[in-house]
């Protein structure tokens, strides 16, 4: 059992938990994720390791409520336990001193971007960060990201914080004024796709972090397969980071819809409604 020692509501849909998992806290590096199960009937859900406190044996996770399992996770309180937590999984980000790096995060993807920012700063890169969200309330971790960034740009769809606009608008601005050596984009798939296009135009290599639907997370089911450079890759062991230019985005978004009907049934029942006849 893995105890939640601290829990915070970041806003109406995003939550943060610190979980006791000493071994994972020792090992996890930027870019890696864990898979957790809430209880006996639960799904295996992947979440990025946002931070670790190795001496206390804690891992920090941030998640957005999107379906039944994340809704149930949000209900857990300090002192409750998860039945399973495994990791760290996936390949770590290749942290090097690249020179000047650009980091672009959108929505809950900012949580997954944060450890990469921190690690790139620690080895001496000049870090330029762009964060985007729907509105001020949903823009998370801005202060923490600022701590490790040389420049920070905030974008909101409605202009309630920073500039009104998309992260790609800010990317164009940065590319125009600065030579970027390598970039990262983590967020919803349309955002990663358009960030990839923007970086391509500027001739900058960009890494994206793919989050397909997973089961085991150890390369044994093939459910997380993505098409990269026209080849089948398993995001859980070959990724989750890939160079954005090689990703087949249509395939990727399509596979995210795989269980939409089923997830809706689960969510409806969870909220006390009746399944639409199908279950």
């Amino acid at each position: 059992m893995f105890k939640i020692v601290e829990r915070r509501e970041l806003n109406s849909i995003e939550f943060e938990i610190f979980v006791e998992a000493p071994r994972i806290a020792q090992k996890a590096q930027a870019g890696q994720f864990v898979i957790l199960r809430i209880d006996h009937n639960g799904e295996r859900i992947p979440l990025t390791v946002v931070d670790t406190e190795p001496d206390k044996g804690l891992v920090r996770l941030i998640f957005q409520v999107i379906g039944k399992s994340t809704a149930a996770l949000a209900k857990l309180q300090t002192g409750d336990s998860l039945s399973d937590l495994v990791g760290p999984l996936g390949k770590a980000t290749e942290i090097e001193n690249y020179g000047t790096v650009l980091l672009v995060g959108g929505g809950v993807g900012i949580a997954a971007l944060f450890p990469i920012i921190k690690a790139l700063k620690a080895v001496g890169n000049k870090v330029i960060t762009i964060l985007g969200a729907k509105n001020k309330e949903l823009l998370i971790l801005a202060d923490e990201c600022r701590k490790y960034s040389d420049e920070l740009y905030l974008m909101t769809d409605d202009g309630t914080l920073g500039q009104k606009g998309l992260v790609t608008d800010a990317m164009k601005f940065v590319f125009a004024k600065e030579k970027i050596d390598t970039a990262w984009a983590v967020g919803p798939s349309p955002m990663m796709k358009f960030s990839t296009l923007a970086a391509k135009k500027a001739g900058v290599p960009i890494y994206v972090s793919l989050n397909p639907i997973m089961v085991d997370g150890t390369g044994m089911c093939g459910g997380c397969r993505v098409t990269v450079d026209k080849k089948i890759k398993f995001a859980c062991v070959d990724g989750p980071e890939f160079l954005g230019a090689g990703v087949d985005w249509d395939d990727f978004s399509n596979r995210m819809k795989q269980y939409r009907d089923e997830e809706q049934i689960a969510d409806t029942i969870y909220k006390g409604g009746m399944p639409n006849g199908k279950a």
Binding site: K27, K68, L89, G222
Partner: protein
């Protein structure tokens, strides 16, 4: 004694039209009387050939003799000397190709062999009903790590615990058992049974730590520093894909994902369990082994109207166990022989609609002795399908191997280990089961585990003499 019957005492089964709608076990087991009747058919041969052909060399006439007089306890004591997982072996071993194939009774005209597997199951099921006995083996001979809790790792662990070692199994998934848990479906191998046999092993003092991916959660260096020896039994879990156009369409599965969702995550009981699997009208399974049968029969049970298996050779060459094939036909699974898929067709929304296939003729035999499949020109045809499941074999599970570059692999990517001893190129590291042989059988994986236990014991004892 009454005259021996020519045929095996039949085992009762759920009727096909009931079982193809339920995940309950198909075969129902023998009553004691049925078992005694079957046991009385055994000739109690001297130099029994059945023993020679069993990968773990169970004293088969020995345990059968006790069944004949109704003494299941003594029968179980005999079995336990050789196998830690009898209820599992009794259900999934290919007995018809092993012990039962060489049975002397079966060799005489008109007689079927003794139903050794069914008898093993009878004894093991009896044992599973008994309270579990905690055994306090001494743990003072040293610490051994086992990586992977499939049949190979469990067997090695049980034997090493009996020899007095302090054994820890590390398992990546949240439940132990390997393929027994995540691959083989409930209707052939109830998970209750697997859990019970695993409990019997842990009651001997074996510790199982789930949720530990060796190579990630802890490294091989840490294992080597903490343990006197280590047995790698990580299985052959990585699915192969045929790489056809359309593989990324929704509805196209590897058998591993399909079966893992159903068995490990209990998707057949969605939404009581949270993990879904697509329920479909028309399911096509590609392949011809036991895995393909399992996927096809699971799909039927999930409510598919039509389930078809496409296999590129002919029925005579089907690699699956005959019993599984026959069960599948009774349950309404159809077969397209000498057929290969060439493309998955999109319904326009990213979902699978149909599979384009070609017909195959069989040419000359190749080195493997099997006739080579040749595509017949202009033989394309379409099979309607909303789910396709590729069951075309597995490769080495790389999650540990990628982090342990010193370990020597063979040209197929499996661990190079001495088959007689389980030794790898690294002293103190042994390996066995599917990760050495490629996908094989439960009993061969268990055999490798037994060998490794003996060898690890002598390795550690020798080291102690030298230091």
């Amino acid at each position: 004694m009454a005259k021996r019957s020519y045929t095996k005492t039949p085992m009762r089964e759920l009727a096909p039209e009931i079982r193809n709608r339920s995940f309950s076990e198909v075969a129902l087991g023998y009553s004691l009387e049925e078992g005694q009747l079957e046991a009385s058919r055994c000739l109690q041969c001297k130099n029994a050939p059945c023993i020679q052909n069993c990968p773990v060399m169970i004293d088969i006439p020995g345990f059968i003799k006790h069944i004949e007089v109704g003494d299941l306890k003594s029968a179980h004591e005999v079995l336990s000397k050789y196998t830690n997982l009898p209820a599992i072996c009794g259900r999934v071993c290919p007995q018809e190709k092993q012990c039962e194939m060489t049975c002397r009774l079966g060799r005489s005209k008109k007689f079927e062999p003794v139903a050794i597997g069914n008898l093993e199951r009878l004894v093991a099921d009896w044992a599973c009903q008994q309270p579990i006995e905690m055994i306090s083996n001494s743990k003072d001979k040293g610490k051994v790590a086992i990586i992977g809790s499939g049949p190979s790792g469990l067997t090695a662990a049980g034997d090493l615990a009996k020899l007095g070692y302090d054994v820890t199994i590390f398992e990546a998934l949240h439940v132990p058992g390997g393929v027994l848990t995540y691959g083989i479906p409930e209707f052939r191998l109830p998970k209750k049974i697997v859990e019970k046999e695993i409990e019997i092993i842990t009651a001997q003092g074996v510790t199982i730590e789930t949720n530990v991916v060796v190579g990630k959660t802890i490294t091989m260096e840490e294992i080597q520093a903490e343990f006197a020896a280590c047995y790698l039994s990580v299985g052959a879990g990585a699915p192969n894909f045929m790489n056809l156009p359309g593989t990324s369409l929704n509805g196209v599965y590897s058998s591993s994902e399909y079966l893992t969702r159903i068995n490990l995550m209990k998707a057949y009981d969605f939404p009581n369990y949270d993990t879904p699997v697509l329920t479909s009208k028309n399911v096509v399974v590609i392949g011809g082994g036991n895995v393909a049968m399992d996927a096809a029969r699971s799909a039927k049970r999930l409510g598919a109207k039509n389930v078809a298996v496409i296999y590129r050779r002919s029925k005579e060459e089907l690699p699956a166990r005959k019993e599984e094939y026959e069960h599948s036909v009774e349950e309404g699974i159809n077969y397209h022989w000498q057929t290969n898929p060439v493309e998955y067709i999109n319904d326009g929304t990213g979902k699978l609609k149909a599979i384009k296939c070609v017909k195959i003729k069989l040419g000359e035999a190749d080195e493997s002795g099997r006739r080579r499949p040749i595509v017949i020109p202009n033989s394309e045809f379409i099979i309607t399908a909303d789910t396709a499941i590729e069951a075309i074999g597995q490769g080495a599970n790389r999650v540990l191997l990628d982090t342990f570059p010193d370990l020597r692999l063979n040209r197929w990517g499996y661990i190079e280990a001495n088959r007689e001893t389980g030794e790898t190129n690294i002293p103190g590291i042994f390996a066995g089961g599917d990760i050495v042989t490629g996908a094989a059988t439960v009993i061969l994986a268990m055999g490798a585990g037994k060998v490794a236990a003996t060898q690890i014991d002598s390795y550690i004892q020798n080291q102690k003499v030298h230091v």
